[in-house]
């Protein structure tokens, strides 16, 4: 379909509006950047429509499992997230270290039950379009999945079967353990994984959270008996959370879950991770990665809890420093200097505590300069506080990005499964835009002054020490 435009092309265009026009291109870049009518004004924002209210149900079952069901019927699918706090239970030991046993447990959770072998499990899930996977970290075991809405009963049945009857068959444990050893090797060849380990050691040394990825010898000793014992002791409903989001009737689905998971019981409660130590400021440590063409800068400081009244101000201060593309850090280090593809800061939260992180990767040759610019911005945001315009931009972004992230079933399910275990109510996400709107500019400036400043940080630079150590020592604030 082609018809005349409401505004004729020839009225404002630099070239005649003929479909057969034109010599081969030979304009300069300056000519391309200019039209006869000159720059135009940015259109104002229109009226914003409101999102629909969510229908949900929320209950703690007799077995202690909290179940949150939210209706969002955009597509005929249901997203599921089961979160079980999974720190090492006190007074419980198998022969193998918890970190290794937990990894093998996650890898074999769906590898067979008394009722179904591995093939039968996956085949039944496939028939209803379901995918399910398990992952573990020092804090929690997450079983996540999705299913065509009409297949939800099958997903719940498989989930119940796995939680109460996973057998972690010996041959599956043996093969997944060997595979895990190879995957750990691959993981530890990734500079990002190594840098994360190094900065966690630097900031949370001695705490289980400083040791997310098991060592090979912590995995090779794991036996099927260890895994089964940990499953019996720690894969328990009391203290766990199941979130279901999608094309569901919340009350009816809550009853389905109550019936399907009634047999999942334990006298124990899930084990919550012990609190993180307070992060002590310290010089940035140079970590050698010989020959590396690119370095990782990772700095951390004390964060702010989501449930703290000052959190919205802290969130906005973080955005101004490095929390989105239009931040001081990104505009300086990437868009002005070209030292990095991406620089960012973030407020990471866990049940055990919270940290403020600053990260970027930069070439060996620009490492010292990029670190200097990062430290400079950490100082400047205290001494030259965020302006009204910077705060207004951050506020609009925070509100808009939240609504975009909640506009999908999977986004809503993942957000709720992260926030509710932090002690927040599901309504927190709906109320948060109002909190951001009510936060004053001065509160944001005060938060920036409290959070930032290089003297509050510790961290690492991972790179080629042979090239970097002299110049970083000269820069100061770096331990080699």
């Amino acid at each position: 379909m082609s018809r005349t435009a409401t505004e004729p092309a020839s009225r404002t265009a630099a070239e005649p509006a003929s479909r057969t026009a034109a010599e081969p291109a030979s304009r300069t870049a300056a000519q391309i950047a200019t039209t006869e009518t000159g720059p135009r004004e940015l259109p104002p924002l229109g009226t914003q429509s409101a999102g629909a209210e969510l229908v949900s149900s929320d209950a703690v079952l007799e077995n202690g499992l909290r179940v949150l069901v939210v209706q969002r019927a955009t597509v005929p699918v249901v997203e599921a997230r089961l979160v079980v706090p999974f720190a090492e239970p006190q007074g419980f030991t198998t022969g193998a270290p918890h970190v290794g046993t937990a990894e093998v447990l996650a890898a074999t959770l769906l590898a067979g039950t008394a009722r179904r072998d591995r093939l039968a499990l996956d085949t039944e899930l496939a028939a209803v379009g379901a995918e399910v996977g398990a992952s573990v970290d020092p804090e929690r075991l997450v079983v996540g999945g999705s299913v065509l809405a009409e297949g939800l009963p099958v997903l719940l049945d498989v989930l119940a079967d796995v939680l109460t009857g996973a057998t972690h068959p010996t041959e599956e444990v043996d093969s997944e353990r060997d595979r895990l050893v190879e995957r750990l090797e691959v993981a530890r060849s990734q500079p990002g994984v190594l840098a994360r380990e190094a900065v966690l050691r630097r900031s949370l040394a001695g705490h289980p959270s400083a040791h997310e990825v098991p060592e090979v010898d912590e995995v090779t000793v794991v036996t099927a008996e260890d895994v089964r014992a940990l499953h019996a002791r720690a894969v328990v409903p009391r203290g766990a959370l199941l979130v279901l989001v999608g094309d569901v009737e919340p009350e009816a689905v809550l009853e389905q879950v109550r019936t399907a998971l009634a047999g999942w019981t334990s006298e124990h409660s899930a084990t919550v991770l012990s609190p993180w130590p307070t992060i002590t400021p310290a010089p940035t440590l140079l970590v050698d990665r010989a020959g590396a063409v690119q370095s990782q800068i990772r700095l951390v400081a004390q964060g702010v809890s989501r449930s703290d009244a000052g959190y919205p101000a802290a969130q906005l201060a973080n955005l101004v420093l490095g929390g989105y593309f239009s931040s001081r850090l990104m505009e300086n280090v990437r868009e002005d200097k070209g030292y990095t593809y991406g620089a960012s800061s973030g407020l990471d939260a866990s049940q055990a505590g919270q940290v403020l992180t600053v990260e970027l990767d930069t070439s060996r040759e620009t490492t010292a300069a990029a670190l200097m610019e990062t430290v400079y911005e950490l100082s400047r945001v205290v001494l030259v506080p965020p302006t009204d315009a910077e705060i207004s931009s951050a506020r609009q972004y925070a509100i808009g990005a939240l609504s975009i992230s909640l506009a999908t079933q999977s986004g809503l399910a993942s957000t709720l499964s992260r926030l509710v275990p932090l002690g927040l109510e599901p309504s927190w996400v709906r109320e948060h835009p109002a909190r951001l709107a009510a936060t004053t500019d001065d509160e944001v400036r005060a938060a920036a002054a409290r959070m930032f400043g290089p003297g509050r940080f510790t961290g690492i630079v991972q790179g080629d020490a042979a090239v970097l150590s002299d110049v970083l020592v000269a820069l100061g604030g770096v331990a080699v």
Partner: protein, 431 residues
Amino acid sequence: MVHAAPPPALRSLVLDNGLRVLIAPDPSAPVIAVSVHYDVGFRSEPEGRTGFAHLFEHLMFQGSESLAKLEHFRVVQSSGGVFNGSTHPDYTDYFQVLPSAALERAIFLEADRMRAPKITAENLANQVEVVKEEIRLNVHNRPYGGLPWILLPPVLFDTFPNAHNGYGDFSHLEQASVDDCADFFDTWYAPANAVLTVAGDLDPDVAEALVRKHFGDVPVRPEPVRASFAEPQLSSERWEVHVDAHAPLPAVAVGYRLPDPAADLPGYLAAVVLGAVLTDSDSSRLQRTLVQRDGLVTDISAGCGLFGEPLDARDPDPFVVTAIHSPEASARQVLDAVDAEIATLAADGPSAVELAGVVARWRAGTHRSRDRLVSRTLEAGASELLFGNPHLSAELPDLVAAVTPEQVAAAAAALRPDARAVLEVQPGGAA
């Protein structure tokens, strides 16, 4: 179940300057998305200028007549939105997702840079450095960097468009000039060479009026002639070795030619189903045999497209198998094991249960993807641009469901060991 009503039909029109426009109203969330797909990707960049299409994508964010450097990012984000762009073999896309109040702004932003992007020597030099950091991050400083998308094409293809590195050589990036940028823009970024998609919580009449207001006077320029990238089928097994200093374990990538999806969509989709039957789940053929039973490979994937996305490029598009494997096995042993499973499928086809599982998972996966406004928007624009059908991604579950066991067997039979490219990755042991 309480399924929402299906969204109203998609509206399509063509402006006088040749710009194709798709308008897709969907009131399920108070959010809108605007994307532009230009019909140029790294297969069209000039020889001696590898990486130029991607570098140019970065430059399109560096300001335009009405927006100074940094303003594009700032306007989108201070309006509550997110943005990005990406470069593919056959197209380059740009998008923003914003609260619905910012509909006109989003349309304005894309129109302004389609009409008059501002490319300066300073911004070019800056973005060359940024792109080099991107390449260090994704290729030079990590194990298996560029596997398979950079490393496999030079084994699989003979012509520059298909075989070269789309990220580019540093020396080529550094030689890029502002005049190169002007030529590239005038040649490839004509409105008649683009598809604009506007989707989300909007009134289609209002959206169409805004599109005409802001894009109507983008000057017409000739639509470039798109070259064919066709190459003859391979006539032997080609084998090359790449030493990866960062890789701890050996790996192998294998590429085969696929049917042209524009000419033989059922044949292409049979290969899509084949990929899922081979590696997509715990019950898939190669996961059960090579991973779970034999412990031969650590991770394996098989499917259509260099980036694991089917129907994201025109012909020629490869079927790719990639595996990271145990050092105890040779690449040849891994290939022999893969070949044995493929031969079984070629002889017997998949079972009805296997096919039903693939179809149900494909349906669920399509729904999940289309639950994201940005995915719906980008898929409509890309499938209109590549295949002239903006509904293709929505139709795929039904098309996949129509694939028969015989078609999958034929797709397996087409993966011939004597007509494929093999890239063997050997751990280099350094760094």
